[in-house]
C-alpha cells in the first residue's frame, strides 16, 4: 500500500470519497485479504485444520465484500473510464494489481511450503485470493475509476488471476511431492 501511495500518489477523488471512508474501505479489504491468507496457512498445520466448508464460505464472503466495497465506492464517487482509454486502463490496473499481489503471495507460499497441506491446490487458491485482495486494496488507494466494467474486468480480474497463480503453485508443490514418491 505504501508502495502504491509513494509511487503513484493518492486517488484524485480522495476528498469526494472522504479520507476516512477511503482508508476504511481499503483497510477493511486489506484485513479480509490477510485473514483469508492466514486461514490458508492454518490449513498446512497438521492436526489444526479449519473446516473446509467454512473456509470456502469465508472465501465467497471475501469476494462479495470486495464487490460490496466497489459498489459503495461507485455510489459515492462514480468515475467512468473514457471510451478511448478502456483497454489502456484495463491493462495498467490489471497488471499493477496483479504485480502487487505477487509479494504477499510469495510470502504466503513460502510459509505454506514449510507445512504439510493435505489439499495444496485449495491452500494455494486461498493464499492467492487473500494476496490478490490485499494487492487490490493497495491499488484502490490510487485508482479512482469506479465504473463496474473497469472494476470487475481489471481489479477483480487481477484478484482472480492471483488466486489462479496460488492454485498453480499448490498444484506444482503437490506434483513435486508425488514425483518424489514415484
Amino acid at each position: 500500500m505504501a508502495l502504491a501511495l509513494v509511487g503513484f500518489g493518492i486517488r484524485v477523488d480522495y476528498e469526494i470519497l472522504g479520507p476516512r471512508t477511503a482508508w476504511a474501505l481499503a483497510l477493511t479489504q486489506l484485513a479480509v485479504g490477510y485473514l483469508l491468507a492466514i486461514a490458508g496457512l492454518r490449513m498446512v498445520i497438521p492436526g489444526a485444520l479449519l473446516a473446509a466448508g467454512s473456509v470456502r464460505l469465508a472465501a465467497i464472503l471475501a469476494i462479495l465484500s470486495h464487490v460490496g466495497i466497489a459498489a459503495f465506492t461507485f455510489q459515492r464517487s462514480p468515475v467512468p473510464v473514457a471510451e478511448d482509454r478502456v483497454w489502456e486502463l484495463w491493462a495498467i490496473c490489471f497488471l499493477i494489481t496483479f504485480l502487487m499481489s505477487l509479494l504477499p503471495l510469495a510470502v504466503a507460499v513460502a510459509f505454506a511450503s514449510k507445512g504439510l497441506p493435505c489439499n495444496p491446490i485449495f491452500v494455494g487458491t486461498l493464499c492467492g485470493l487473500g494476496a490478490g485482495l490485499a494487492g487490490e486494496a493497495a491499488w484502490r488507494m490510487h485508482c479512482h475509476y469506479t465504473s463496474w466494467e473497469h472494476i470487475l474486468a481489471a481489479h477483480t480480474g487481477a484478484v482472480l488471476a492471483a488466486a489462479l497463480v496460488g492454485a498453480l503453485a499448490g498444484f506444482l508443490w503437490q506434483r513435486r511431492q508425488i514425483a518424489l514418491r514415484i
Binding site: M43, V44, I45, P46, G47, A48, L49, L50, A51, A52, G53, S54, K114, G115, L116, P117, C118, N119, Q174, Q177, I178, R181, I182
Partner: protein
Amino acid sequence: MVSYQAGTLKAFEMLYSAMKPRLLQYLLSLTFDPSRAEDLLQETFLQLHRSRRTYQPRRPVMPWAFAITRHVFLMDRRAAKRREQHEVDELANLPELPIPADVEQLADRELIGKALSRVSEPRREALLLHHVWGFSFGEIGALLGIRKGTAKLRAYRGMQSLRQELGVDRTDKLEKAK
C-alpha cells in the same frame, strides 16, 4: 515431544515406540495393505521429523502425528493413481483391523473386520478415530478439515453402518437388553 523438537535422540526413540503401534493401525485401516502400511509408517516418521517445528507444544501430540500420517497416505494415494497401480483387493487381503470396543462382543474379530472394511472410508475413519483411538470430535474435525458436528455425524453413521453390516440393529440390542 518438546525435547524431541530440541533435537534429543532419546526423545525420538521414546516417541517412536509410543506412536508406532497406533500409527501403524491407522495406516492399516486406510490402506488395507500391511506392507504398504509399513512403508508409509517409515515415510510418516521421516515427515514427522521434517515437520517437527509445526508442532505446537500447547496442543496434544497424537492428533498432530495422525494428521501427518494422513498427509503421507493421501500423497501416496495420489502418487499411486499417477503410477496407475490398482488398489489391493480389500476383502481378499484384509489385514487385522483395529476393532471398536463397543462392537467387540457382537461378533468375532474377523467378521467385524470384514464388516468394517465395507463401511465407507470417511465414516470408517471418523468411527475408528473416535472409538478406537479416543480422539474428541473437535480433534477429528481439526485432523480431517471438517466441522465438529460433521465428525460426530460421520462417526455415528459409521457405527450405524457397521451394525447394519453385522446384522445388528437397534431392536436386537433392545431385546438383548431385556
